[in-house]
């Protein structure tokens, strides 16, 4: 299994501009109440990573309870809104509109340069190493036209499919991408034979990650590639900040799988992991910003000392260490259908 460390230079506020992101969280909280909690359809679930049922309650966010799996240390929401309600949320939520019109808009240049372009290169590199003549590419639940543009520029795939996108696909991309407007859970076996399927930041918010991965497996050809990213609770900033983390909130992060949980889940679903990396750049920066913006926030003394008394070199080296040992909260996984 390969493991990758990335050296890059961008900061939290370039991706999540503070003011807009805070406003986005406020809207999300209201929408969670309106579209999820008020419906009262909460369902008790086992650990979405290892299926374990031993857990302890940790904290509440936006009215929903996060529990920690006693076996694989995954943090997840249970009871959680029903699958139907969650799917509906991502269609009807005003928070998502705000996300695109403000947070993404303000950070678009950085996102293209540091997220979408490298992501497309990752897809390209692994695809070229696995297929001499790549056929069908499928992106599940697309969130960004700009990423699709990067995929389009690769000129790599014979067929490109956008499956159940969460955005309106740009007119300029409609000639390039075939649009399938239904949930992957409703795609019949044999309907799509994909060489490569991508799902960026989807696992963390689907009702049942195991069903989701199993369904992806059915649309992949033998030895087909699944590439996905998600947030992991094994990451430094999430471990340190825990309930104080701004990026732990429903419904976008109802499944914060641990690294160990990810391995169990992916292998249980019939995949061989060929890469599991945590190439996140922001853990140290996120904690530094959290301390700056909240005098009362308590973090371990060593971390406080490190961040107050050492310079950029130390932060960069520390972030690299986190990546090296799969301790950053952004994880990327490449897996081959067994």
């Amino acid at each position: 299994m390969r493991q990758v460390v990335v050296s890059d230079d961008y900061r939290e506020l370039e991706i999540w501009p503070s003011e807009s992101f805070n406003r986005y969280l406020e809207i999300t909280e209201k929408e969670v109440e309106r579209l999820l909690i008020s419906r009262g359809n909460l369902v008790d679930v086992c650990c979405p990573a290892c299926n374990g049922d031993r857990r302890k309650i940790e904290f509440k966010k936006f009215g929903l309870e996060y529990v920690e799996c006693m076996d694989c240390k995954t943090l997840y929401i249970s009871p959680r809104p029903s699958e139907e309600d969650i799917n509906r949320y991502f269609i009807d939520s005003k928070a998502l509109e705000f996300w695109h019109s403000h947070v993404v808009e303000e950070s678009l240049k950085t996102r293209i340069r540091h997220l979408f372009r490298p992501r497309a290169m990752w897809v390209a590199n692994l695809t070229r190493e696995s297929f001499e003549s790549p056929g069908v590419f499928v992106e599940v639940n697309s969130m960004y036209n700009e990423f699709l543009e990067e995929i389009s520029r690769l000129n790599l795939f014979k067929v490109k499919i956008v499956l159940d996108p969460l955005i309106d696909i740009a007119e300029s991309l409609k000639k390039e991408f075939e649009l399938v407007n239904k949930s992957i859970m409703r795609v019949s076996p044999g309907e799509i034979d994909a060489d490569v399927v991508t799902a960026f930041a989807v696992i963390n918010r689907v009702f049942n990650p195991e069903s989701f991965l199993n369904r992806i497996r059915t649309i992949l050809v033998d030895n087909g590639l699944l590439l996905f990213t998600t947030s992991t609770i094994s990451g430094f900033d999430l471990q340190v900040l825990w309930e104080n983390s701004k990026t732990i909130f429903p419904p976008e992060r109802i499944n914060l799988l641990s690294i160990e949980g990810i391995v169990k889940l992916v292998e249980r679903c019939g995949f061989e992991i060929i890469e599991l990396s945590t190439p996140g750049q922001l853990d140290v920066d996120v904690i530094r910003n959290a301390i700056r913006s909240d005098d009362k926030l308590e973090v371990p003394r060593f971390i406080s000392y490190l961040l107050n008394n050492r310079g950029e070199d130390a932060y960069c080296s520390f972030q690299e260490f986190l990546q090296r040992f799969q301790l950053s909260s952004h994880v990327r996984v490449a897996a081959k259908k067994r």
Partner: protein, 347 residues
């Protein structure tokens, strides 16, 4: 071939024992005999035949022989094994000069049914295979140049080892270790026609080299720079490959002692010529870590597959070895001072 391949090992020093470990774990191989000059009492307990004469091993019904002897003895054993219709896996270098490898090739050509593979295991290291895959994908364009450093320190008994004895080894650090880097240069860029070099023995004062610096150029104008050293007090393996659109750096190579690093690292980056001054000369890099050395098992696996499916040896072939050894001796020859002090050219 459904039945197990019966193998023997000639030379039961460090390399022979490494090969035994791989053979013991391979489902298609059965170790029938071991041969070494030491007595049975002096070696580790064995569950196979033991002999002090390699010819005894060649008389048995073994299918293949692993030759893990010092350079002086290797050519005779390999030629004899080939003539006895045994497949041969041979450690590098298979002799002390070009005549030795040429004689081996002659025996190979006269015994067409047998497979002959040489131990260029570096080609099977994770970082090297990954680098090859990236280069072959074409996404970084054509190779412009390479820079390889492979060095180790001698140690207390360095002068007493057979590798330090010209009569037995034939050459110094370049022939013994640097040849791996030369093989990797060939793997990525093919053969080199032009050679310039400096070769010295200024520290260990042996009659073989302890440092060789060489620059090579091929017909495609691809250049390679090599430093092979036995005065590298901190062990190092580094191969930089720069291409039209980016670069790869292999840093560290996994060894049994981990003295060349705890991991092998492959750095891959795409050049950034954007109109943003901060990006110039400091591109985004991706570092892939490899922490398991499967090179020994993979190269033996390839040898086994060649035998089982009667496939031509394409990695570590006799041609690979001949070309690598030719380059070693051309590097010696390109330093006039080195040649003059040794009574003339080597080739």
């Amino acid at each position: 071939m459904d039945k197990k391949i019966k193998v023997g090992i000639v030379g039961f020093g460090k390399m022979g024992k490494i090969r035994k470990g791989v053979i013991d774990n391979h489902p298609d191989l059965s170790l029938e005999g071991v041969c070494d000059i030491v007595t049975l009492e002096q070696t580790e307990p064995l569950e196979c035949e033991f002999s002090q004469d390699y010819e005894d091993l060649l008389k048995t019904d073994t299918d293949a022989i692993f030759v893990c002897t010092p350079n002086k003895f290797t050519p005779e054993i390999v030629v004899s094994a080939l003539k006895n219709s045994k497949h041969v896996f041979c450690e590098k270098p298979p002799g002390r000069n070009l005549n030795d490898i040429q004689n081996i090739i002659k025996a190979e050509q006269e015994n067409k049914g047998v497979k002959l593979k040489f131990g260029f295991n570096h080609r099977y290291h994770g970082a090297v295979m990954e680098a090859k895959s990236v280069i072959e994908s074409g996404r970084l364009g054509k190779i412009l140049w390479m820079r390889g450093i492979y060095g180790k320190s001698g140690g207390l008994d360095f002068e007493k080892q057979w590798r330090s004895n010209k009569e037995i080894a034939g050459g110094g650090i370049l022939l013994d270790q640097g040849i791996h880097m030369i093989d990797l240069f060939r793997l990525f860029c093919g053969d080199f026609q032009e050679v310039k070099s400096f070769v010295t023995n200024s520290y260990w004062n042996l009659d073989i080299e302890d440092n060789a610096l060489a620059i090579l150029r091929n017909e495609k104008d691809q250049m390679a720079m090599l430093h092979s050293s036995s005065t590298q007090w901190k062990h190092i393996f580094s191969l930089e490959i720069f291409l039209e659109e980016g670069y790869l750096i292999i840093s560290g190579i996994l060894s049994s002692t981990r003295s060349y690093g705890q991991d092998e690292r492959l750095i891959v980056a795409t050049k950034q010529f954007e109109n943003e001054s901060f990006a110039l000369g400091n591109p985004r890099e991706e570092i892939t870590y490899f922490n398991r050395d499967r090179s020994w098992e993979l190269e033996v696996e390839d040898f086994v597959e060649c035998i089982k499916s009667d496939r031509k040896v394409t990695v570590g072939s006799s041609e690979d070895m001949l070309k690598a050894m030719e380059l070693v001796y051309r590097i010696y020859d390109a330093d006039r001072k080195w040649c003059k002090a040794r009574g003339g050219k080597f080739i």
